[in-house]
Symmetry: C2
Subunit: 250 residues, 2 copies
């Protein structure tokens, strides 16, 4: 079996679809990460395997470009492959295709391996040197685009919330898919369609923490929104990102 490119069939369930009537960004992130997790298991570097050495995969960057959001009950295929090792980062790309093999969504991600006991990243090369990387096929660029700091002159809107039980995953951290949900709830995307988003994950959140979600538009003319999700107690950034969108004609 060719395991270089993993192909995961996914039927978009009614629960993957929100008020937009299409797959929601949060649930897209889940499907991408679920496909990545399954592929990692097959490649011998899955959750359970790495856990034996106290090592976990941590997603640091995720860049996504959407051609068309899948509809409820639509059958799509998530294709994913590890692309490269770049210093401490391992890059992994994704394509979501429809039944006619049209590309609906392109994504690129970067991950680090973290030694939980030592609380520091592990160099991935030793564990991954014999794995089937596919550097020649790029879904987007060579590495997820890095984000600029939010310029000081931009007016930011603040939205506050608290980390609750349902935000947590098995590791008792806020699952990264929740950040996109927090952003959606803060901006209320009822009249927009997201055409791309780019996220950078830094400091994790834990239960009970107060969260500041700061959003702003670098240019009032463009459909571009930048945001930072901050730990209220320390001011540290937990997740930063940006989205591009287009208005929906209603």
């Amino acid at each position: 079996m060719n395991t270089e490119i993993w192909k995961e069939p996914v039927t978009i369930s009614s629960f993957d679809v929100g008020a937009s009537g299409c797959l929601e960004p949060t649930y897209l992130m889940k499907h991408l990460q679920e496909a990545a997790a399954k592929h990692a298991i097959v490649l011998g570097v899955g959750f359970e395997e790495l856990k034996k050495d106290n090592i976990f995969w941590a997603l640091t960057h995720l860049q996504v470009e959407i051609e068309r959001w899948p509809l409820m009950m639509e059958q799509v295929t998530v294709e994913t492959w590890p692309r490269n090792i770049q210093k401490l980062y391992t890059t992994r790309d994704f394509l979501v295709k429809d039944k006619s093999d049209n590309i609906l969504i392109r994504a690129s991600s970067a991950w680090i391996m973290v030694d939980i006991s030592r609380k520091r990243p592990v160099r991935p090369y030793d564990r991954l040197q014999n794995k089937p990387f596919v550097p020649a096929i790029m879904a987007l660029g060579d590495f997820p685009t890095t984000l600029n700091r939010i310029p000081d002159n931009i007016k930011l809107t603040e939205h506050r919330r608290q980390v609750v039980y349902s935000d947590l995953d098995i590791n008792h951290h806020v699952n990264n898919t929740r950040y996109m949900e927090w952003l959606m709830d803060a901006i209320d995307p009822t009249n927009i369609e997201i055409t791309s988003f780019n996220l950078h994950f830094s400091n994790e959140f834990r239960k009970g923490e107060a969260v500041n979600i700061k959003t702003g538009k670098p240019n009032t003319d463009t459909n571009h929104l930048i945001f930072e999700i901050e730990h209220q107690s320390t001011g540290k950034t937990g997740c930063s990102g940006e989205i591009y969108f287009k208005p929906i004609q209603q």
Copy 2:
């Protein structure tokens, strides 16, 4: 193919599992309803089919008893079958079984068909008379147990929240699985394991609405919690329910 009892294989994903390390109630509800929806399609009374006549299925009662919560990556089977027509209600039962065919979870649900244009229930008999009901097999009782009104002498704790974008489903209503999530966030179930829950859904919520979640213990000695989720503006109950649980030894 025998379509009387639908058997849906489900692998518990990392996203179905929360801080408990096991399948979370919210995601159990999703899997039950997803299996029911697929079975309804096969039986010719699925979402798209009924929508042609402006009719929707609405879940009114859900009673669940848990023997053991499935673990992450565990492969289970959701079995479901329509059991009976009882006046305006159609009952549907569920069993969740592990790989060795042990019953992990039993559930019983009641549904009404609602004519959205007329905003009233439709008698289900005409549409369902030739369908393969299985009245002889009961997962729990004959009908989901009805709930008593909360006695006046019980001290209730109030938790407030607002309906946000991510609470909504394709119909722009709060999806019923969210009520269980709201309850989990209100009570913080970190040190308990839910052994059964029983929900009754009445008045739906819409975006921006203020929500009151009232919880209380009928008897301080027992591991039994009752709750009502109220529309703050009208005082109407949107969802009422109860859970039984056991403490987790940590």
